[in-house]
């Protein structure tokens, strides 16, 4: 037994459907053949061409190995090169065992295309990029992590070209870089491909010559962080209403600081996060705020940049607005707003409200209509919603006041509670319901009994549950509410 022999060069490409992974595979095969090597490649695209994960596998045998039996399936721990177009796909390849410290050169784009599972969370569902990077550094023999998507965009080409350039530039292919470059062909799109190829090859060579320094985690300076959040909060509230409102925010923040022992890390963190949530809460989005933000010159500049507007082009901007009676009540004086809300609760509403309207915000009429709406800021302090929000803020601040000195861990969780107040209309209503349920079911009982530290994990779980889904199914589970039984009807 024990036969010696050189295994072929084994290359695994990981990509998303529609990114041109097949093109890249064919380029590699062509370049290998041109250089006199025996190459075989295959893939399992299936329906993955529709943006799902997909992979391609290539084996390249020596020039004299005409009779080689090449495999169609990669073996864990036996892949020489992995090239990946996206960081989460790199994680997937590593989780399947294809990256080995003994032999694998890993070339991965650091670009992210978030998966649906990451995007649909009410909070932040993004996969940890730091963990992927760390895993790559630990598991690959050589890891080259660089933003191949950005390099492609800069060269006006596709990621397949920069993946190929990075692969060729890494020096793992048994033929020279010119041989790879030659298969890109002629024509205008080939010129762009070559530019991307060259840029990526150079970028990998730079990485090889001078490995990227391992970035130290930023030093944490809690008092400075708190000061920064407070500065931003004052700025936000001043911009939202007026200087006095900014000072109201500062007063609230000072009260939180006074209640806490900042030498306890959890207390300091609680104060910082509470100030952050407080600023966002105080600057809640009503019609006046939205109209104001939508008519600022810097906003139109941002849209021009985002829409990649070129000189000589003109642009129109349309808003999708659907103000309901509730939003109108929000910005009217308390008594008027309350009367409208009585109508709303009786199912009546207001004429002309609750219909979708298209507003040309960079048109003359649309612009001035929005400016008029923005003017409601002047009566905001007397408005229906303002009164409601200030009352809720006051209750929360009082709870924070009570929790900070005695149970910093509970305060830390409580600081995050306003995070469930998100969105507009139905989404906001669901958030307010969740907030009220957690207040009633967890916070108030804990404050009353004084058993705050015991309740901290429950509170943290409840907030996570409220952010887990729209239907509040997880929240029901966490708060121990009876789950809805299937709607059975006796025949």
């Amino acid at each position: 037994m024990t036969r010696a022999g050189n295994p072929p060069l084994r290359i695994l490409l990981a990509a998303l459907g529609g990114e041109g992974g097949g093109v890249l595979m064919n380029w590699i095969v062509q370049a290998a053949r041109d250089a006199g090597f025996v190459a075989q490649a295959t893939s399992v695209p299936g329906v993955a061409q529709r943006t799902g994960s997909t992979s391609y596998y290539i084996e390249i045998a020596g020039k004299d190995a005409v009779g080689s039996v090449l495999s169609l399936v990669p073996m864990p721990g036996r892949v020489d090169v992995v090239v990946s177009s996206e960081l989460l796909e790199t994680a997937r390849v590593m989780a399947a065992g294809f990256v080995s410290p003994k032999l694998t050169t890993l070339i991965s784009s650091t670009a992210r295309t978030y998966s649906t599972a990451e995007k649909i969370q009410l909070g932040d569902g993004r996969y940890s990029e730091d963990n992927v990077r760390r895993t790559a550094e630990a598991l690959a023999r050589d890891a080259y992590l660089l933003d191949l998507g950005q390099i492609a965009e800069d060269s006006a080409t596709f990621v397949s070209a920069t993946m190929f350039g990075a692969l060729a530039g890494s020096g793992v292919l048994p033929w020279d870089i010119a041989g790879s470059r030659a298969v890109l062909g002629e024509g205008r799109s080939a010129t762009a491909s070559r530019a991307g190829f060259d840029a990526a090859a150079q970028a990998v060579q730079d990485l090889r010559d001078t490995p990227a320094p391992v970035a130290a985690p930023p030093a944490s300076d809690i008092p400075a962080d708190i000061a920064e959040v407070i500065r931003l909060g004052v700025e936000r509230c001043t911009d939202y209403q007026d200087a006095a409102y900014g000072q109201t925010f500062r007063a609230h923040a000072d009260r939180l600081i006074a209640a806490a022992d900042l030498s306890i890390p959890s207390a300091a963190h609680a104060v910082k996060e509470a100030c952050r949530r407080l600023a966002l809460w105080m600057a809640y989005e009503d019609i006046a705020r939205v109209a104001d933000l939508k008519t600022r010159p810097e906003r139109f500049a941002r849209i021009r940049a985002e829409a990649q507007m070129q000189p000589g082009q003109v642009m129109t901007v349309t808003e999708y607005l659907k103000p309901r009676a509730e939003e109108i009540a929000d910005i009217l004086p308390v008594r008027l707003g309350a009367r409208i809300m009585v109508r709303v609760e009786a199912g009546k509403g207001l004429p002309f409200m609750g219909r979708g309207i298209h507003v040309r915000s960079n048109g003359v009429a649309g612009y001035w209509m929005l400016r008029l709406m923005a003017g409601f800021r002047r009566i905001r302090r007397r408005s229906y919603r303002f009164a409601q929000e200030q009352a809720a803020i006051a209750e929360w601040l009082a709870a924070m006041d009570k929790a900070l000195p005695h149970a910093p861990d509970f305060a830390e969780a409580l600081a995050e509670l306003p995070r469930v107040l998100k969105g507009y209309s139905d989404t906001l209503m669901r958030g307010k319901t969740a907030y009220a349920r957690i207040m009633a079911g967890v916070v108030r009982p804990a404050l009353a009994s004084g058993q705050m530290s015991d309740a901290a994990p429950t509170l943290r779980r409840a907030i996570a549950a409220a952010l887990a889904d729209d239907s509040h199914a997880r929240l029901d589970e966490t708060l121990g509410t009876q789950p809805a039984i299937p709607n059975l009807r006796s025949a």
Partner: protein, 715 residues
């Protein structure tokens, strides 16, 4: 069609002495022409779509050669095409995705197999099994055995595959039996090379017509009493002839090895992965030279008892490597050995997994166990456990470092897909009326079973959704919903679903996604695909708008409640759905959800736009975006859309810790974001920008006036 095969068509014309470089399934296509086929048919589906697609695009060349090409409406009609070879000495081939396609074709296959064929008949199936598969996991092997069709499973390299195609026709003719050739997904897509031969123009074809039809011969009908004779012939004359041919032409291959005390019998398609496994164990080299004797079965049904016994002779034990369940080949080998009173020990599924792909890793483990049992001198020195530990350790270490499981990334609706808005509307409808029983189907719309939509209570096959809830309707308070595509509707749904429901006067709601093509398989045409005139008239709009073949068919069979709604009208779709679920009308309610496949529409739009831009004409480009100042990061828009270009990004606002919604440059301006924001009363953060290139005098003037009258704010 999604892909252009201009370069591949040139490869089909290669002659003797030239080298073909390309994909496995296209090598099969070339081999068909080299074998002198008169006709080719099939139904699209990964991994064999390219066979039919390339031939359809090469229609003029095929006509020159005299080869008739027919993309069929389903696999049953493709299988029935092979009926031409029963009475005429013509070669023909058909193709589809298996197991599902073979299921649909089963009736025709039985009736074809019974009388047998005069001309060579070949069925090329994409064995959609294991990683990358999109169907239930079953084997085609069972069909070969029960209908007495021969089954080939060639070694996965282009010369072997091409040789097998050519031999398959000869085998078919020598034994009057149709032959199935199964190719796994990776074999269909493998890039390799082979020495081409000249194409052969068939002796009987569209260019060389027969003057007279075949005479009436009752013997050739699948009809009693001759079917009894057919059955006897299958197991006697035809089987005998086939086995003789297989032996004589050495279709199965034996590779000798020094350790003759044991041997391995393997399906041809697994051979390469086996060699890699043996190399890992130190028992084979890169060229396939191996210490153990290997019998590679390129024909897996029928087996040739003499070959099996010859291979087993003098061995202590034989290991059968057979992918999928149950172990048909192993059972047959067991019978052969037992009947011959052979003392050879048989091993297989007792030490290897019953289910799942036989990768090199799986086979290395199995071979290791086998050798320790039966050849301990070598088995005990193997490094297979070291490899198993190494790969396990790699996975464990990766998972430890990554800390959290990697989120799945299934395929989803394309950017601008017209089916997505329908599912947003359905989600909104269900928020009002509560969940309804949802019968899902095969096609792009099955992506709605994934997040963020998570729809579906069952999938029962292609075009079967409506049929599958016939009895559900009888015990549900709310009407059940069935969704199918136009592909599924024409494949099966009209007959199995619609007419059956009408015949029985049943209630229910059916939604037909009319996007104009069988999009999931590569946008092949169906009978209701918009014709060139409609496409020309539609320009940048949806070309399915004026196409009413589906509606006409539904009215023709007697559907009384029928609505056609453009999918991008989300509010209107929601209202129509609400009405369908609440109307007093009892009976089948059909909503045709119309919107042309975005892939096809973009293919038409791009050249139109490029030309207009080049000629200096006014062109409007639409793009959506999200105001991150007003976005609160609740992502409810994403949960109603799932568009690839509607994603998240870190907020620029340092106070916001949760990511905000963001539209990438891939946006095609389909308008769903705005429609959903309105229909669901989501939030005011979406904007639509219309960027006008080569603006006219009035555009420029208006732009200037806007700047002046907004005091420069909108600049």
């Amino acid at each position: 069609m999604e892909v252009s095969f201009a370069r591949e068509i040139e490869k089909l014309k290669l002659g003797a002495g030239e080298t073909f470089h390309g994909e496995g399934i296209l090598a099969v296509t070339k081999a068909l022409l080299q074998s002198g086929v008169s006709y080719v048919g099939g139904y699209q589906g990964a991994p064999v779509s390219h066979l039919i697609d390339v031939m359809v695009q090469a229609a003029p060349d095929m006509a020159k050669l005299g080869v008739h090409v027919e993309p069929c409406t389903n696999e049953a009609s493709a299988a029935a095409m092979l009926g031409a070879s029963i009475m005429y000495p013509v070669r023909g081939a058909v193709t589809w995705k298996s197991i599902v396609g073979t299921n649909v074709a089963a009736d025709a296959l039985s009736n074809l197999a019974s009388p047998g064929v005069m001309g060579g008949a070949l069925i090329i199936v994409g064995e959609d099994y294991g990683e990358g598969s999109s169907v239930i996991q079953e084997r085609t092997h069972a069909y070969a055995m029960k209908s007495t069709l021969w089954l080939m499973d060639p070694r996965p390299n282009l010369p072997s595959i091409v040789t097998c195609v050519e031999r398959a026709f000869e085998l078919s003719e020598a034994s009057n039996t149709p032959v199935i050739m199964e190719l796994r997904i990776r074999a269909c897509h493998v890039q390799g090379a082979f020495e081409a031969k000249d194409n052969i123009a068939p002796a009987i074809s569209g260019r060389r017509l027969l003057a007279e039809p075949a005479p009436h011969q009752y013997e050739q009908l699948a009809h009693p009493p001759v079917t009894f004779g057919h059955e006897r012939k299958k197991s006697s004359e035809r089987m005998t002839a086939a086995r003789a041919f297989i032996r004589e032409h050495r279709l199965n291959e034996v590779f000798d090895g020094a350790q003759g005390d044991v041997g391995i019998v393997v399906q041809g398609g697994l051979y390469n992965a086996l060699i890699r496994a043996l190399a890992e164990l130190g028992l084979a080299d890169a060229e396939g030279n191996c210490d153990l004797p290997i019998m590679a079965l390129n024909v897996v049904y029928p087996l040739v008892p003499e070959e099996i016994l010859g291979f087993a002779e003098g061995k202590r034990a034989v290991l059968v490597l057979e992918e999928g369940q149950p172990e048909y080949i192993e059972n047959e080998i067991g019978t052969i050995l037992r009947r011959a009173k052979s003392p050879v020990v048989l091993a297989g599924k007792d030490i290897l997994p019953m289910a799942g792909e036989y990768t090199s890793e799986v086979m290395a483990k199995g071979v290791g166990t086998f050798l320790r049992d039966h050849l301990p001198g070598i088995g005990n020195q193997l490094g297979d456990t070291a490899y198993a530990e190494e790969s396990e350790a790699l996975r464990a270490e990766a998972q430890r470092l990554l800390a959290a499981p990697v989120p799945p990334r299934p395929p989803s609706f394309c950017t601008g897909c017209p089916e997505r808005p329908f599912f947003a509307a359905l989600k909104l409808t269900q928020q009002e009326i509560g969940p309804v029983h949802y019968s899902a189907d095969i096609g792009c719309h099955a992506f709605a079973t994934f997040a963020p939509f998570n729809f579906g209570n069952s999938i029962l096959g292609y075009g079967m959704s409506l049929a599958s809830n016939a009895s559900v309707a009888s015990f549900q308070q709310k009407r059940p919903l069935a969704v199918m595509g136009d592909g599924g509707f024409w494949h099966n749904g009209l007959l199995s679903g619609v007419t059956s429901r009408l015949l029985n006067g049943g209630d229910g709601v059916l939604v037909i996604m009319k996007n104009g093509y069988t999009s999931a398989t590569g946008t092949q045409e169906v009978i209701s695909s918009p014709d060139p005139a409609l496409k020309l008239a539609a320009a940048e709009k949806s070309a399915t708008h004026g196409e009413t073949t589906i509606e006409d068919a539904l009215k023709g069979v007697g559907v009384k409640w029928l609505r056609t709604v453009h999918t991008y009208k989300v509010s209107q779709m929601r209202d129509t759905l609400r009405e369908a679920f609440s109307t007093k009308f009892s009976g089948l309610k059909v909503i045709v959800a119309e919107g042309e496949c975005q892939l096809e529409r973009q293919r038409r739009v791009k050249p139109i736009r490029a030309k207009a831009l080049a000629e200096g004409e006014r062109v409007v480009r639409t793009r959506f975006g999200v105001d991150e100042d007003t976005c609160t990061g609740d992502h409810s828009c994403i949960r109603l859309s799932g568009c690839p270009t509607l994603t998240v990004k870190t907020a620029t606002d340092p106070l916001k810790t949760d990511p905000v919604a963001h539209v990438t440059n891939g946006c095609v301006g389909c308008g769903l974001c705005g429609e959903v924001a309105h229909a669901a009363t989501l939030c005011p953060s979406f904007w639509r920008a219309e960027v006008i290139s080569n603006p006219g005098w009035w555009d420029r003037t208006r732009s200037r006036l806007r700047r002046i009258f907004t005091l420069g704010a909108v600049a």
